[in-house]
Amino acid sequence: MIHFLVFSVRRAAEGLWRNRVMSLAATVTMALMLVLLASLVILLSGLQAGLELVESKVEIRAELHEGVPQERVDALREQVAALPEVESVAYVSKDEALAQFRAQLGEGQEDLTEVVGSNPLPAQLVVKLKDPREFGSVRGTLQEPLGVVSRVVEQQSNVDRLVSITGLLRTVGIIVIALVGLTVLLVVVNSIRMALMSRADEIEIMRLVGASDAFVRWPFIFEGLLVGLLGAVITLALLSLAAGPIAQLATAIAGQVPIGFGDRLSSQVTAVVLAAGLGLGGFGAWLSVRTYLRR
């Protein structure tokens, strides 16, 4: 077994070197594809993180008319809270609304509320949903009693847009990766075919002297795996060089959205890149060997 492995890997490396130009072409296209794949994974996981953050903040605000009796407000609040899709309902008084508004403005901004003199902000009911995309009859229920709710404010459309962007990106990305992956597969198949042809005389002798099929075939499979491994290593090296700038860029664009190279993400990307590289390389080589070396 050890002889077999040493023999196969040594021959694979030999073959890779012997067909340098073709091996280089295969490795570079492999790396290109893997960079594309890794970018997609990073982008999608960033968008996913953003989506989760936005979704966690999605709520329905119902602004109340001035001077609605507190019992009516409480009754409505209980009614809404009883709906199955609602997680919680909070009452925000006029004063609290003003305080929140001031807090949101932050330091250094001029506080226009001072100018107005009286508090212009309405009291509100803030509804948190269990699933931000399932708001069912919340809106209807809020508007049902006359003279309580003046306006219902939703952030739903933002979420919908983000969801559809993520979905579109995923679909387009998967199609592009699949096409590039197919190209890489063909390049690997071709590269291994060249390796097989350049060793036709050796293969003939191997069969003549009684080499088992594994000794004939596996060196070429290993060669494909090596192409995949090299492509993956190049990709990961490029990514680790680019990790700093990308993280900065992400922070600049998304601000508080936690995109970036967390440990979880980078180990996930490493695994995806390695698996895709080895998988494509090995599969391409296997296809090539299978079609070329029929007994």
């Binding site: 023999f7 002798i205 069969r207 003549l208 002297v209 009684g210 080499a211 088992s212 000794f215």
Partner: protein
Amino acid sequence: MADLTGPDEGSLDGGRVGAPRRTLPRVAVALRDVSMVYPNGRRALSEVDLVVPEGAFVFLVGPSGAGKSTLIRLLVRDELATQGEVYVAGHEVSRLAGRDVPRLRRQIGIVFQDFKLLPRKTVRENVAFALEVTGAARSHIGPAVDRALALVGIAAQASQRPSQLSGGEQQRTAIARAMVHDPKVIIADEPTGNLDPLISWEIIQLLLRINAMGTTVLMATHNADVVTALRKRVVALEDGVVVRDEVGGYHRDH
């Protein structure tokens, strides 16, 4: 047919060394009622019967197209006979599954007219390659290669490449490669076809020496001088039929 396959048990890998010789005559190669028709309809062999006992030296002669090469292809299982039974070194070749072919090949040595050496490898590497690709232990390869190189008398040129060798030296290297597994049977297809008469004699002498050490040799040849001079068993094929099988010369003795 039991006597053809029977004695092989336990002797698949080098069991011959040190094993007591059976008194029963063992058979190295046997064909019974073998016919070969190629897919294009050409009939290359017709109902051939042939028995070569272990340790024999047999010439296979006949004009081009008589079926010598087909017979050899059947023996090494490059082709499967369309009819009949083929036994080589204890294997029923005519029923051998594809995955068992390597086991057969390790027990026979094959020598060709065009040597089939690997041009990028040295003499030593060419011979060692035959062991490496069958998964032999490194500790076993070195000594076995040394022995094979010494046997054919090419040890001095061990680090040269085939292109630096004469035809005779190349064929010696090929024979060393065929012998490095310690095979039971050597099958040589026109081994002197590319060599001049003097060198041909050297190669024949080498094959005779290998035969004298106990290896069965089956040699297809056109070399009438050699065959006639040696008075060994001659099997003559014509149009796929054995027309003569006797000890004698290249042509029928009158």
